[in-house]
């Protein structure tokens, strides 16, 4: 999957699940702030991303990651 498509699918999934208009999300947004999610919702997002991309993404891979673009590179590395 091309990296741009991975990023777009993450943005679309996040917008859809957390009910935020897609156009409000940008690749370099801090997704915790933009989506307004807490620790349990972060786990929920992680699980949805794993299912969507059919990958295993250990929690620690997301430590320190707060923007969609970096998240996409971590996921891309496991596709």
């Amino acid at each position: 999957m091309p990296p741009d498509q991975t990023l777009e699918e993450i943005l679309s999934l996040a917008a859809s699940h957390f009910k935020v208009p897609r156009e409000k999300l940008s690749p370099d947004d801090d997704f915790f702030k933009t989506l307004g999610i807490d620790s349990l919702q972060t786990l929920d997002l992680l699980t949805r991303l794993e299912h969507h991309f059919q990958i295993e993404l250990p929690d620690y891979e997301l430590q320190g990651v707060s923007d969609f673009r970096t998240l996409a590179t971590r996921i891309q590395a496991r596709l």
């Binding site: 915790f32 999610i37 807490d38 620790s39 349990l40 972060t42 786990l43 929920d44 992680l46 699980t47 949805r48 299912h51 929690d59 620690y60 997301l62 430590q63």
Partner: protein, 267 residues
């Protein structure tokens, strides 16, 4: 009494099935209030079990099944006590929790954990006392205790050790459903898969290997893996209390309580 409504949990017996619902926000953290109510349930279960054939434990909260022990309560309570007193309090809490979980574990009916969302730490351990764990696709299981300098304290390690393997047998036995070979291998029940027509050849080779071992030892090995791990459960409490006395635990609890991190369960 076929029904009870508590602040943390409620239960209801209907048509031979007890449904135990967890509903303490934010995510069913297991603290002293919940333990009090679990103890009442465990007492009631002695009689309920005569009328029921199954127990389902589930959460009514969208946040998940159970996020584990109430670490905020643990931290704040231990801050109000001298060290020795705090350790004694923790031991008592663990022993009470173990009595409840052992009672559910040994209950003479089929127990089912219906898990959605997080089943972390004590929540995972609660699920592990059940005969079957049924989970939705968004469920997540984790033992985050080491990030506090602790081990799981509600029987998680001995039960996981016990259940990896035979929980699958219980599922097959108690539900009667069928698994395909891919499923069987993924859960560890099928150790090897070979091409069509090759299975007898492989079986014979495996039998030849097994025949090299002493029969008495092989039986002892089988028996060792099956008993309920009461001794390990008691040892777990000792280890937990020993670890709890270390200063790093207090620091870890404080960090967790004060954390605004999105992944506070990671070190």
């Amino acid at each position: 009494m076929n029904h009870s409504q508590g602040d943390s949990l409620s239960w209801d017996l209907k048509d031979g099935v007890i449904e135990l619902a967890l509903h303490r926000a934010p995510c069913n953290e297991l603290g002293s209030l919940t333990l009090d109510e679990f103890e009442k349930f465990a007492n009631a279960l002695k009689n309920l079990a005569h009328e029921a054939h199954a127990l389902i434990i589930h959460s009514t909260l969208s946040s998940g099944f159970c996020a584990g022990a109430d670490l905020r309560e643990l931290y704040h309570r231990s801050q109000q006590m001298a060290k020795g007193e705090a350790i004694k309090g923790v031991r008592e809490f663990l022993e009470r929790t173990h009595r409840v979980l052992n009672a559910i574990d040994a209950a003479p009916l089929t127990t089912i954990a219906a898990v959605h969302g997080v089943a972390f730490g004590g929540g995972f351990e609660l699920a592990l006392v059940c005969d079957l764990i049924i989970a939705d696709k968004m469920a997540r299981f984790c033992f985050p205790e080491l990030r506090l300098g602790l081990i799981p304290g509600f029987g998680g390690i001995p039960r996981l050790k016990r259940d990896l393997g035979n929980s699958v047998v219980r599922d097959l036995l108690l539900t009667g459903r069928s698994f395909n070979v891919t499923k069987m291998q993924s859960v560890g029940l099928v150790s090897q898969v070979v091409a069509e027509g090759e299975v007898l050849k492989l079986a014979r080779a495996t039998a030849a290997q097994i025949g090299k071992f002493d029969r008495h030892t092989a039986i002892a090995a089988k028996q060792f893996i099956k008993p309920i791990p009461y001794e390990e459960l008691r040892r777990e409490i000792d280890i937990f209390c020993e670890l709890f006395s270390r200063p790093s635990v207090e620091a870890g609890l404080r960090k967790f309580v004060e954390s605004t991190d999105a992944q506070p369960y990671l070190p």
